[in-house]
């Protein structure tokens, strides 16, 4: 390099360094770098990959909708909370303007700490533990129901299910994973069951288990021994598969398997692995509105990217992951800046009425939580998760008790 070239380069570098502390260079970025952290391998790998499909289609759809360019920076937290923290750190170091993910409350809590320390906005796609948005964080936002909301909506839908099918189960055995999400859900169910006196059943036994369990023989035999009318289940995907198989092996045929709001039983892998055994399982979960315009756009983009797949098997994962990126892109468009504080302020002002998932428009409260997200009662019918309640959105009638029901 010649002396003059060196001087020019030095002058340019100095000018760049001079404006950088004021965020001018970052603020003028034309492209929003979104760090997407998902569990694409490990025990939650299937769900992470399902969420990833929502992230992958987001840049194209959002470019058409808002004209915003998005660069995805994908990271796999390997279903390990410690890895989630380090991946978040690395994404921030590599220049992510906003973090999105991670489909897990434990990981979300870890990433939230990183986001706050580094001052980078973090939009949670799926994670329900209420404490995440109770810490007074300034950079953490969640467009997903908290565990108490899921439980309240889920239990209410169970009541509707019994009314719709003219059944009155008297007892339930409650099985739940013992991770952050499962514990939060168990706490919520414990609290709401006392208040919701209109529900006809009592929980006769509560059994918690490790979501990474390779064997649930003992748990299922204990549940069967409770002689309960139906199984109330808060699960993940892999354990739901193991548990369903074990129920068949132990010839336990309760009235139904009903989740008051957890992943697992509506996932594509549940159907693929279990085939007919997946039928009639019920999940009361936040779900997409099939009639929404945005759903149709996303469905089209999904089919284009995954010609052999269907959105219905990834509804919750794709929907909320897409919406999380949409929230970031919408804020970026309004803020015209990638400055973290400006971006966070813009996210706080979000008001998206034209959305994909059921419920009220996306607006964050003072804690960074979206309220009024709706739930649907999904039942696996003809190897497809089908909305059976609320009646206004239902495409089929619920089947309860499930065929083959036999008092244990």
């Amino acid at each position: 390099m010649q002396r003059r070239q060196f001087n020019k380069a030095l002058a340019a570098t100095t000018a760049l360094a001079a404006v950088h502390p004021f965020g001018i260079v970052r603020a003028q970025a034309q492209r929003l770098k979104v760090g997407v952290i998902l569990p694409r391998s490990g025990v939650q790998g299937f769900i992470g990959q399902s969420c990833q499909k929502g992230a992958d289609l987001a840049p194209g759809v959002i470019k058409q909708m808002l004209g915003v360019d998005i660069e995805l920076m994908n990271a796999d937290w390997e279903s390990n909370v410690d890895t989630a923290r380090t991946r978040a750190e690395r994404l921030v170091q590599e220049g992510a303007h906003v973090l999105v993910g991670p489909f897990d409350s434990g990981a979300a809590a870890a990433i939230a700490q990183v986001a706050e320390q580094r001052g980078v906005p973090f939009v949670i796609n799926i994670a329900a533990a209420p404490q995440i948005t109770e810490q007074g964080y300034k950079f953490v936002f969640r467009n997903f129901q908290t565990a108490p909301d899921i439980v309240r909506n889920g239990l209410a839908l169970i009541g509707e299910l019994f009314q719709a099918t003219n059944t009155v189960p008297r007892t339930a055995v409650f099985m739940h994973v013992n991770d952050t999400f499962g514990q939060a859900m168990a706490k919520g169910i414990g609290a709401f069951m006392q208040r919701l006196t209109q529900l006809p059943f009592k929980i006769v036994d509560t059994i918690s288990y490790d979501p990474a369990a390779k064997d649930l023989t003992v748990e299922v035999s204990k549940a069967k021994a409770s002689n309960a009318d139906f199984l109330l289940l808060v699960c993940r995907l892999n354990d739901a598969i193991i548990l369903r198989r074990e129920m068949v092996k132990q010839r336990w045929n309760p009235m139904g398997i009903v989740s008051p709001g957890s992943p697992g039983m509506y996932e594509e892998q549940y159907f693929k692995t279990l085939g007919k055994l997946s039928e009639y399982s019920i999940s009361n979960v936040p779900w997409y509105n099939p009639r929404a315009e945005l759903t149709k756009v996303v469905d089209k983009a999904f089919l284009k990217q995954n010609p052999k797949d269907k959105l219905v098997f990834h509804g919750l994962n794709v929907g909320f992951t897409f919406e999380a990126i949409l929230i970031a892109a919408d804020a970026f468009k309004r803020a015209k800046s990638t400055d973290p504080k400006t971006l966070a302020d813009a996210i706080r002002q979000t008001n998206i009425a034209s959305k994909m998932m059921l419920g009220d428009p996306i607006k964050f409260n003072a804690k960074g939580q979206v309220e009024g997200i709706g739930s649907a009662c999904l039942q696996n019918l003809n190897l497809t998760p089908t909305v059976v309640l609320p009646t206004s959105a239902a495409t089929a009638k619920p089947v309860f008790p499930m065929p083959g029901y036999k008092k244990a």
């Binding site: 299937f46 059994i207 023989t217 092996k249 132990q250 055994l277």
Partner: protein, 267 residues
């Protein structure tokens, strides 16, 4: 599986930290054979075990034998490195998705009075007992088996009488690998296989052989039964989520009061 770990340690005095990962490979082999030829995993035991015997023998001869006289931490690092390579190779080959085998009897059980016995588990237990019996007979009644035992009892003495100790070490590692292969084929009917499955089973095998006694074949079987029973009973009478606590509690008790394991010999 624990039997293989115990056999390898009992003779070669090397703790195989890639044991669970080797079992994962066997599970993948069983899924591939099932997908390609509809070969029942229990029938796949023989071909997979044969391939693993050769693989194990070559691995010991080419990779582990040079480390036999080196410090234990070098052996540890070597086998941990092998484990990491195996996991990543599986990820490259098969991806992170879980795979399984679905056979007709997989979800069936025998009904004996009020007791239900899972068919797949029963068959897996029979395979384990058959493998243990075959190994026991091999070490007890064949010349090669006796020579291997001689190498395990007295390394120097075996060399003095002219035994090719390293060759017998290779054979032993091959046998241990064959045991792992049998375990993998049986296990694939009980658990879906993913690349990161290995470390969990390596740890479980360690707990079993430490409780039973490192190097003792009967100890490995006894350890397996005790760990399984303690977890099942703890799950049934206390809390299912606390069952691992009891197996590890049992491990600590054994380490405190009988460090060589229940049927192990003092070293």
């Amino acid at each position: 599986m624990a039997l293989g770990l115990s056999v390898i340690f009992g003779v070669v005095r090397v703790v195989n930290f890639a044991h669970g990962e080797m079992m994962t490979i066997a599970m993948y082999a069983a899924t591939v054979l099932f997908a390609a030829f509809k070969l029942d995993p229990f029938l796949a035991v023989l071909p997979v075990a044969a391939v693993f015997f050769v693989f194990g023998t070559l691995m010991q001869a080419g990779l582990i034998n040079p480390f036999i006289t080196r410090p234990e931490h070098s052996q540890f690092m070597l086998l941990v490195a092998v484990a990491i390579i195996l996991v990543n190779a599986l990820l490259l080959l098969f991806g992170p998705d879980a795979r399984n085998v679905q056979v007709d009897y997989q979800l069936e059980s025998f009904e004996i009075g009020r007791i239900l016995v899972d068919k797949a588990r029963l068959y897996a237990a029979l395979v384990a007992v058959a493998a243990a019996a075959a190994l026991f007979a091999f070490f007890r009644f064949t010349l090669t088996g006796k020579a291997i035992r001689a190498c395990a009892d007295n390394y120097l003495g075996a060399k003095v009488v002219g035994l090719n100790v390293r060759k017998y070490y290779s054979l032993t590692f091959g046998l241990g690998a064959a045991c792992v292969a049998a375990a993998g084929c049986a296990m694939v009917l009980l658990v879906d296989v993913t690349p990161p499955l290995g470390p969990y089973y390596t740890l479980l095998a360690f707990v079993i052989v430490i409780v039973g006694g490192l190097g003792s074949m009967t100890g490995a079987l006894l350890g397996g039964v005790l760990i399984g029973l303690s977890e099942a009973l703890a799950g049934l009478f206390i809390a299912p989520s606390a069952k691992s606590m009891f197996s590890f509690g049992l491990l600590i008790l054994v380490l405190l009061f009988r460090p060589q394991g229940l049927l192990g010999r003092k070293i």
